[in-house]
């Protein structure tokens, strides 16, 4: 009974719309937006036929992998510091990590637009220091989008890493040291395998929303950093090809479901490895 209002809402405004795009992905687009109710299997093959779409998909997956990897590399030392060195400042640091995250997403991304623009403060400082002639030329590139991604997604990586690093039994590291393992070896053989569940969760938390990213490429990116999310959006905003846009949306959902399935398989293996240790 108590579930009823939420359940009705989900079915009417979540399940039904998803059902609509599933159906629409098998129909024909009308000329100026809207849809003709004619069965059409051509939307999915269209995705594979034109190399541009495939390239955008690969671009997006590449961006998602690179962005996730960068978050991991940047976030791991930070999580390590918070979990093992922060002491009684731990909570302060954790809150400081959330605060920028809780400012408006748009504001955060827009802030980089100011900072990195050719007439912005960074270019100004660099010019004063004679480190830069001409323009910065960083905005509207692949790198700018990647930086925006790391900036916006970093906390999603750091929290799960922090949780699993904090649970790590420090005595294992001491034991490894007593047995003659160097710091690096202990890190690779003890710390990394034991925090694998956290690493995997962090990667999943970053990777999934990143695959559907829309705002960051729209603000910081140029033509080469166009992602699936932007393509889907444009099919509805400017191209008015609803049927094809629906097919793209379904393709993203399927892609994510495959990735989540892979994650659960890897996560199960990681936990069983932890058990055996």
């Amino acid at each position: 009974m108590l579930l009823a209002p939420a359940a009705v809402w989900y079915v009417a405004f979540f399940v039904a719309p998803l059902g609509f795009i599933l159906v629409f992905s098998f129909l024909t687009s009308a000329d100026y937006g809207g849809i003709d109710y004619k069965f059409n299997l051509g939307n999915y093959p269209q995705l594979l036929k034109a190399p541009i779409y495939l390239r955008i998909f690969l671009n997006t997956i590449g961006m998602a992998f690179t962005g996730t990897a960068l978050c991991l590399v940047v976030g791991f030392p930070l999580a390590y510091f918070l979990a093992t060195r922060a002491g009684r400042w731990k909570n302060v640091f954790l809150i400081m990590l959330i605060v920028p995250f809780w400012t408006s997403f748009l504001t955060r991304t827009y802030a980089w637009l100011i900072l990195l623009s050719d007439s912005g403060p960074l270019a100004h400082v660099l010019r004063q220091a004679h480190l830069l002639q001409g323009d910065l030329g960083f905005l509207y590139t692949y790198k700018a989008v990647l930086m925006g991604v790391v900036y916006n997604y970093l906390p999603l990586m750091v929290f799960p890493l922090y949780v699993s690093l904090e649970r790590l039994d420090k005595r294992l590291l001491e034991a490894a040291k007593d047995l003659g393992a160097g710091r690096l070896r202990a890190f690779w053989r003890i710390t990394v395998p034991l925090t694998m569940p956290g690493i995997l969760t962090g990667c999943l938390l970053v990777f999934i929303p990143l695959t559907g990213e829309y705002v960051i490429p729209a603000i910081l990116g140029g033509a080469k950093s166009y992602m699936i999310g932007n393509l889907i959006g444009d099919e509805f905003v400017s191209a008015h090809d609803w049927a094809f846009g629906s097919a793209l949306g379904m393709a993203v959902i399927v892609l994510l479901m495959v990735l989540i399935a892979i994650y659960f398989r890897l996560a199960r293996r990681a936990t069983s490895a932890e058990m055996s240790l």
């Binding site: 108590l2 719309p17 995250f101 809780w102 906390p155 999603l156 690096l184 509805f236």
Partner: protein, 299 residues
């Protein structure tokens, strides 16, 4: 001879590793500092430049509040602010009611129903925002539902119900069910128990959930952009369209106002949770809320 060079090499290598080890601690500190600077620098910059008298971004010519004045007298910005507030409040009310009831309800149904329901809750969180946005747009247009404030609220409530449900449920799981049972034993009807026992005990989580729902909605861009139609514009949408004409101090002022509204509601939420909470679990709850909401918001 060969053995001694090998030994020397090994010694040299371990000495190098030791030196690297000495560098490890300071490097860790420096890295942490750099990352935090990276996180805060852009935001601080927006706030500072919103008080800049110059209309150019790179030169500071003095303190001024004039851009706030400009924003405050711009009817399109005020209009967007009003729309944003209406949407965020309506969304917070609906999502809080649905989510709280759902969280309580989830404890009282069988395993099967709960699993099916959880699938929808997590489904709304995992599905990319852009996909939900276009699906909702298609849905509303096809059933001839006029786009506007109602469609924005409807779409926001889907996701925020899940957020509130997860937060309230996290607290419910840690709660003593004996209290509910005692109330029933003493003759309270289920509705009385709900009103006098369960809801008051859940109050901090419910309030925190409501504030998070408000914040999400106040900030949301992607969902709103697609289902708002031609006539309704929220503040994030207004900022986005102003960006097309380049960076301007007015945008900084509007962004700073949004920042203050968002941070105020978040800090209120955490204060409430702290005052009513009992330590660790509550911090974890807020983190979980931040994580799940942010995950979706980032999408």
């Amino acid at each position: 001879m060969a053995a001694s060079t090998l030994a020397a090499k090994a010694a040299g290598r371990s000495a190098a590793l030791d030196r690297a080890g000495e560098l490890f601690e300071p490097a860790l500190r420096v890295w942490t500092g750099v990352v935090f600077a990276f996180l805060f620098l852009p935001i601080v910059l927006v706030v500072i430049f919103s008080f800049n008298a110059s209309r150019l971004v790179e030169v500071w010519t003095g303190f001024s509040l004039k851009w706030y004045g400009t924003a405050w007298t711009d009817p399109s910005i005020l209009d967007a602010l009003r729309t944003s507030l209406i949407v965020a409040v309506a969304n917070a009310i609906l999502a809080t009611i649905f989510g709280t009831l759902a969280a309580i309800g989830m404890q009282r149904v069988g395993h099967r129903v709960r699993t099916a329901f959880e699938l929808m809750v997590y489904g709304t969180i995992v599905t990319p925002e852009i996909v939900i946005a276009i699906a909702s747009l298609l849905f509303f247009v096809t059933i001839n539902f006029d786009l506007g404030i109602p469609t924005i609220v409807i779409t926001h409530v889907v996701y925020n119900t899940s957020i509130v449900a997860l937060i309230v449920r996290a607290r419910l799981i840690g709660m003593d069910r004996a209290l509910d049972e005692a109330a029933a034993d003493l003759g309270a009807t289920p509705i009385q128990t709900l009103r006098r026992i369960t809801i008051p005990l859940l109050y901090p989580a419910i309030l925190a959930g409501a504030l998070l729902a408000f914040t999400f909605s106040f900030d949301d861009f992607v969902l709103t952009f697609f289902v708002s139609g031609a006539t309704s514009t929220t503040l994030p949408l207004r900022i986005f369209s102003m960006l097309r004409f380049g960076v301007s101090p007015v945008v900084n002022a509007v962004a700073t106002v949004m920042l203050v509204v968002t941070l105020t509601s978040i800090f209120t939420a955490s204060l409430i949770v702290r005052r009513h909470g009992r330590g660790e679990g509550e911090a974890g709850l807020l983190l979980a809320a931040a994580r799940s909401a942010a995950q979706r918001r980032a999408a």
